[in-house]
Amino acid sequence: MYSFAYHKPTSVKDAAGAFAKGSEARYLAGGHTLLPSMRLRLSHPSDLVDLAGVAELKGIKVDGGTVTIGAMTPHGEVASNAAVAKAIPALAKLAGGIGDPQVRNRGTIGGSLANSDPAADYPAAVLGLGATIKTNKREIKADDYFKGLFETALEDGELITSVSFPVPEKAGYAKFANPASRYAIVGVFVAKTKGGVRVAVTGAGPCAFRQAAMEKALSGGFTADAVANVKHAASGLNSDLHASAEYRAHLVTVMAKRAVAAAS
């Protein structure tokens, strides 16, 4: 790990201030992507702005048909939160399947979304539920947030403060995990919401995306059979050691089917 300057602000304002002063500053949330990449010297921030001391970034609120999760809330807390499990069981299940128990004790929703790893789980829920990402500057609709490989709508220094998920009628998530890293090779989040059916896919492409044909098919009837024959094209999908684009395309359908079957 290269050396860096460490800051631990106690407010969002101070955090943004500390970030602005650094030449190549990074926010430190759970650190479970950033610190390993720093250890391997793949990342070289000048300053780390640790958000752990910012109380306003923490906590879970469920009211009025919305689940709001503070950016610094670890996955494990989301997974074990009874109110979340009641309101959006698929979201709790998704959080409980990220990484491993130790990752879930440290990794946070804000960190995951800011990093936007193509194989991360949360993007599927955010997009699948049509969540709103709140930052220190504005609110960003899920549909406007994911821009590409490790690329989001966030501006330099912009800090996610919370994420609000509208409670759907029902939702489900199915993930086919990379057997080594446990990241998603393909994860599909399906939701039947007031505004219609949403299907979001993670792991398969450069960033999470919606699957329109499946949304249409499920609008006619929210059953596994409805998506069983909806194929996803392989072109443009990720291809690596663990899964070819064709295999990922196939898994999109399989996971969609399973997500619908598991939806509640």
């Binding site: 790990m1 050396s3 010297r41 057997p179 080594a180 890293s181 050691l241 064709e246 295999y247």
Partner: protein
């Protein structure tokens, strides 16, 4: 059975320190004044080194020294030696290109050692390592063993044309060809045995130290065999005589073969310690372990099995290409030859076997012994082709094996590939395993899986291995450059406790417990009064270490010999004190007794009188009670067994789940069943790992390691395996004093073939016939797609 004696499930002595965080692995050691080393490694798979500019690195904060291959050449440091010489078919010796620990002129794999930076802290050394400016001229690389054999392939070493290390063979080719020609059936297969990374969880580490006052070197290193390291590094690489070099291997966090070998880092640390006048410490990052630890397997093989009309095997012909990697590692040449070809008769009566192995250099990390070493490759090949034969001929795989198995009555059995099995009941292993798994009831279980949309399959692996490595004379005749005996010293202390000094060196095998059980049992003293010392060349007698399932069969036998000497001497002392003839003294349960009388002396009393020899047979006997022994095995030992796996495949995703794994093994007599079971569990999981999850992949073009971390190299985890059903079928070894055979590698040797045979059985309805490990979901799905495409054509 004594409470803590042979055969008892004694809880481990070593756990007392391991469980509370008080163990001492190499990285836990810090020496006064130590500096830290970081290696500059080649980012290229193959490149000429034009220039190494260390000027910037030398000026970096905290830097003590930067050393390169040029410094090594100036100091006349030699290459790392190979411990085994193989001769080719034409009688010529294998090609042995030099392996200078810091590459002076050419980098031959990604991770090859170019320079070492030594600084006050590890971070400073790492910071400065990035400032070493190496000018490379990249060359084309070859990483695949079959590609390395092709004309026009990049040449890893100028002195090894065609990348050939050797072209070896064994067996009667003419007889095999004749049998194949007149066979009723010939079954052919092409198989790849996937490259694996051993990945002991403790990464390798070392500290070199030099004491100018005594002109003595010390190397702390995470090794399975400190004396072997001392011999190889002292005598061959650095030219340090043994009495001036101490090698200490403290607690070792797993090895699986990968810590047998003498590595470049060890020589560099020891050499550098004198140059900088300070202890120099290095601990591998896991990414370095992936790049630079010796890997395992990596074979490409064609096999043909001949059968007569009655389905008896008449001949087996095997042609293998085996990767050596960029340089010859310590035992690399022996693995795909004497530890592989000799096992190809397996448990079958096949009268003629011929095997040829071409060993080839590739631009990768070295390939050497990894748990099982050659024998898993042999077993996998044989059991795959036997299973294929059963399928091709439409007969039950159990029946086909029964028909061809060597009967227990045929022992000792001379195979056509050099080995003579002393004992074993292979048919019983098979029958017992089939019974435990309920072979007959499988069809019903398959139906049950089918109802859930899952494909169930069952597969057998009927293995034999050669362990207890090895009779030195045989080893010497076959090209081994060392003996493979083991040593033990049993030191009785005046007040009756015992310290054993052993050349074996456990790294998870539990020798501190099993060896103490042997002592407690044989000498009749409490196990608490026995201490086992290993791992420090200044304390233990010269010994060859722990690998090849040899600790108990060879090291344990040396221990028994030393114990016998203690008892023999005790009898002399007792006879004197009890005023009886030595011939009349019996020893049992810790007591010397004049036969048929109640005149007796406890062994503790005898020990005390040996050190306070007031009433002592001075005319015939020296004081003291401290005996050592070396044991050279008379033959290999031959553990055998039958493993049966049941798997379920999700045809939609290609996911394969091992539902059951049954192992019936013959390890001869068993000292501690609890420990044996643990060894089998771990071995099976490594075999399942090879079959399902593990695969070391280099990029064919760039030669970069694509599976360089646990993010991409899939280690088996707890939910990848089931609980195992293991049992034993004891047929004592006939030629060592404990009747033991060894159990460390069996699981790994048997498991992979059982799993893949089960997978192929599951996929039968889909027409999948060809499959190479690992059965990752993607590869299984792909195989299903290919088969259905073929069926559609």
């Amino acid at each position: 059975m004594a409470e803590n004696g042979i055969g008892a499930r004694v809880r481990r002595k070593e756990d007392a320190r391991f469980l509370v965080g008080k163990s001492t692995y190499t990285d836990d050691i810090n020496r006064p004044g130590q500096a830290h080393a970081v290696f500059v490694r080649s980012p290229h798979a193959h490149a000429t080194i034009k220039k190494v500019d260390i000027s910037k690195a030398l000026k970096a904060p905290g830097v003590v020294a930067v050393l390169t291959g040029a410094n090594m050449l100036a100091d006349k440091v030699n290459g790392l030696p190979a411990g085994w010489q193989i001769h080719s078919k034409d009688g010529s010796p294998m090609n042995e290109p030099p392996h200078i620990p810091l590459a002076p002129d050419k980098a031959r794999y990604v991770g090859d050692h170019i320079a070492v930076v030594i600084a006050e802290t590890r971070n400073q050394a790492r910071d400065a390592a990035e400032l070493v400016d190496v000018s490379y001229e990249p060359l084309k690389a070859v990483v695949n063993v079959a590609e390395a054999d092709k004309g026009g392939a990049p040449q890893v070493h100028d002195q090894a044309p065609g990348n050939l290390c050797y072209d070896w063979h064994l067996g009667d080719k003419a007889a095999v060809d004749a049998a194949l020609a007149k066979a009723a059936h010939v079954v052919k297969l092409d198989l790849v045995n996937n490259r694996l990374v051993p990945n002991a969880i403790e990464p390798r580490a070392g500290i070199g130290e030099y004491d100018a006052a005594t002109d003595r070197y010390t190397l702390y290193t995470s090794s399975q065999n400190p004396h072997v390291i001392r011999l190889l590094m002292g005598a061959f690489v650095l030219g340090i005589p043994e009495h001036k070099l101490r090698v200490v291997s403290p607690d070792v966090g797993g090895g699986f073969g990968s810590k047998i070998f003498h590595y470049a880092e060890e020589a560099v640390l020891t050499w550098a310690a004198k140059k900088v006048g300070r202890p120099v410490k290095w601990t591998a990052e896991r990414s370095e372990s992936f790049l630079c630890d010796a890997h395992g397997r990596d074979h490409a093989t064609h096999v043909e099995l001949a059968l007569d009309k009655d389905h008896k095997f008449t001949a087996l012909k095997v042609s293998t290409k085996a990767a050596m990697g960029a340089y010859l590692s310590t035992f690399a040449p022996a693995i795909p030859t004497w530890l592989y070809g000799t096992l190809l008769a397996g448990v079958y009566t096949t009268p003629a076997v011929y095997v040829e192995t071409k060993a080839l250099f590739t631009n990768t990390s070295a390939v050497d012994a990894y748990r099982g070493a050659g024998r898993p490759e042999a077993c996998y090949l044989l059991e795959r082709v036997v299973e294929r034969a059963a399928w091709q001929l439409g007969i039950d795989p159990v029946e086909l094996r029964r028909k061809n198995v060597i009967p227990a009555s045929a022992m000792p059995y001379q195979t056509p590939v050099a080995l003579q099995y002393d004992c074993g009941d292979f048919g019983k292993n098979l029958n017992d395993a089939a019974k435990v798994v309920d072979w007959a009831g499988f069809a019903k279980r398959r139906e049950e899986s089918k109802k859930r949309g899952q494909l169930r399959g069952i597969g057998i692996s009927h293995y034999i291995e050669a362990c207890g490595i090895a009779p030195s004379a045989v080893v010497g005749a076959l090209g081994g450059r060392a003996g493979l005996y083991e040593s033990a010293e049993v030191r009785f202390h005046p007040t009756g406790s015992v310290t054993v000094f052993t050349g074996s060196h456990p790294h998870g095998q539990s020798n501190e417990t099993t060896f103490a059980q042997i002592v407690a049992d044989k000498l009749g003293i409490p196990i608490e009064n026995v201490e086992i010392v290993h791992g420090d060349t200044d304390r233990i007698p010269f010994g060859m270490g722990t690998y090849g399932s040899r600790s108990l069969a060879v090291g344990g036998s040396a221990l028994v010999k030393a114990i016998d000497k203690v008892i023999a001497k005790g009898k002399k002392i007792a006879a004197h004190q009890l005023e009886a003839s030595e011939a009349d003294i019996e020893f049992k349960d810790g007591v010397f007794r004049v036969a048929g009388t109640d005149k007796q002396k406890a062994i503790g009393e005898i020990a005390l009188s040996a050190y306070v020899p007031h009433n002592f047979p001075h005319e015939t006997t020296e004081p003291g009670l401290d005996e050592s022994a070396f044991y050279d095995p008379k033959n290999f030992t031959f553990p055998s067994g039958c493993h049966i796996a049941e798997v379920e495949v999700d045809p939609e995703t290609g996911t394969t789940k091992v539902l059951r794994f049954v192992a019936v093994d013959d390890f001869g007599n068993i000292i501690n069943p609890m420990i044996v079971e643990g060894q089998v569990h771990g071995g099976i999981t490594q075999g399942i790992g090879q079959a399902l999850t593990e695969n070391c992949v280099y990029d064919a073009q760039s030669g970069q390691l694509l599976t360089g971390s646990f993010m991409d190299y899939c280690m088996p985890k707890a939910d990848d395996v089931p609980s195992f059903e293991v049992s034993t079928n004891v047929v004592p070894c006939t030629h060592n004093p404990l009747g033991v055979k060894g159990c460390g590698e069996a699981g790994t040797i048997g498991a992979a073939a059982a799993v893949i045979n089960a997978l192929l059985d599951a996929l039968k309805p889909l027409g999948v016939k060809e499959f190479d490990m690992p059965a990752s979901p993607h590869r299984v799905w792909q195989a299903i797609q290919n088969a259905s495409r073929k069926a559609a054509d």
